[in-house]
Amino acid sequence: VNGEAVVETVEPRMTLVDFLRETLGLTGSHVGCEHGVCGACTVRLDGVIVRGCLTLAAQCDGARVETIEGISDTGDIADLQEAFRRRNALQCGFCTPAMLLTAQELLAQGGVPSRDAIREHLAGNYCRCTGYQAIVDAIESVAQARAKG
């Protein structure tokens, strides 16, 4: 998890996001709907984003898990985080860690995605504060900036 080996015995039905939050104290991944709809629990598993509430901790034996804490520390999304702050792309912040991870997966594909493509990629992540406009703005601006190098 976030580059550190973790050895724990878990209950068979414990979800990955509960394990991260309750066992490891990594509370940046949030628990919203707990059935795959809201997207707040998004984490990376072996390099791709997954629902932390639909993945069992036991399924992650031997896997590489990255959370917002670890990804933030790498500095890989510092520009995205700054763009969110600058554009007011968050209010309460509940959806933000997952929103950042989801956006980063789209941006990592390269190029400057259209606003429609950004919206579609974010369709699995609910935000109840912003109305999404500012989030799309922030992601679009980072895509443009990264494309320029």
């Binding site: 795959g36 997207g39 998004t42 598993l45 791709v48 984003i49 997954v50 629902r51 639909l54 993945t55 989801t102 997966e105 789209l106 919206r119 579609e120 990629h121 369709a123 699995g124 992540n125």
Partner: protein
């Protein structure tokens, strides 16, 4: 023949050039399945075995006249997709059975496919959807089968009258011939759903009359 192993993830199919070439209906449908984080984990076998009539792949398999391979206590067997889906979350899988693979005919040069669905947000379970295929070009239509499916109701194939209407080249007649009996729910009345089924049928019919390239590059996303 295209064969896909049960634990193939949606994202793998989404990015496969083989699927785009030989299974264009599947390629059109995959982007409508939930969201990226779910397509990274979900599998074709899981989606089919779950048999939610609002899901994309069960309808596609029926439209493609596919077969589903099962391994069970009595050995292996194969079930036609239309017989596999028995109802809401209900399939031909019995106790101890495991869905191992799906098979369907590879696309031919004269195959036209279309896919459309309506949902409140992209990736959500739909109100109604249709996936269709047609062989041939306009009037020399050899066969048209569409899986028309509705939230919470059994997956249905279009009736013979509708296939005949489409074969005659009249989308209006085909929409009139839609014989659906949806239930009203909190999101839409039965009348609305019947209307939407017609809208979707028109979209698929118009897209599947286009050229192969047109259909491939025009998923409703």
């Amino acid at each position: 023949m295209v064969e896909i192993g049960a634990i193939t993830r949606h994202v793998t199919l989404e990015r496969s050039s083989d699927i785009a070439k030989h299974a264009p209906l599947i390629a059109l449908a995959i982007p409508h399945i939930a969201h990226p984080a779910i397509r990274n984990r979900g599998t074709i076998g899981g989606s089919l075995a779950y048999a939610d009539p609002a899901a994309e792949l069960p309808a596609c398999l029926v439209a493609l006249d596919g077969a589903i391979d099962i391994a069970g206590p009595q050995g292996k067997r194969s079930v036609r997709a239309e017989q596999f889906f028995k109802g809401l979350f209900e399939t031909a899988l019995g106790t101890g059975d495991v869905l191992t693979a799906v098979r369907f005919p590879a696309a031919t040069a004269d195959l036209r496919v279309g896919f459309a669905e309506l949902a409140r947000r992209h990736g959500e379970l739909r109100h109604g959807g249709t996936g269709g295929r047609r062989k041939g070009w306009r009037q020399d239509l050899e066969r048209r089968a569409a899986g028309l499916f509705r939230r919470r109701l059994k997956l249905q194939r279009v009736r013979a009258t509708q296939e005949a209407a489409l074969a005659g080249g009249s989308v209006d007649d085909a929409v009139k011939a839609l014989d659906l009996d949806p239930t009203s729910d909190i999101q839409a009345t039965a009348d609305v759903k019947r209307h939407l089924a017609g809208v979707l049928l028109r979209r698929v019919a118009s897209s599947s009359l286009g050229t192969y390239e047109h259909v491939l590059t025009s998923p409703s996303r």
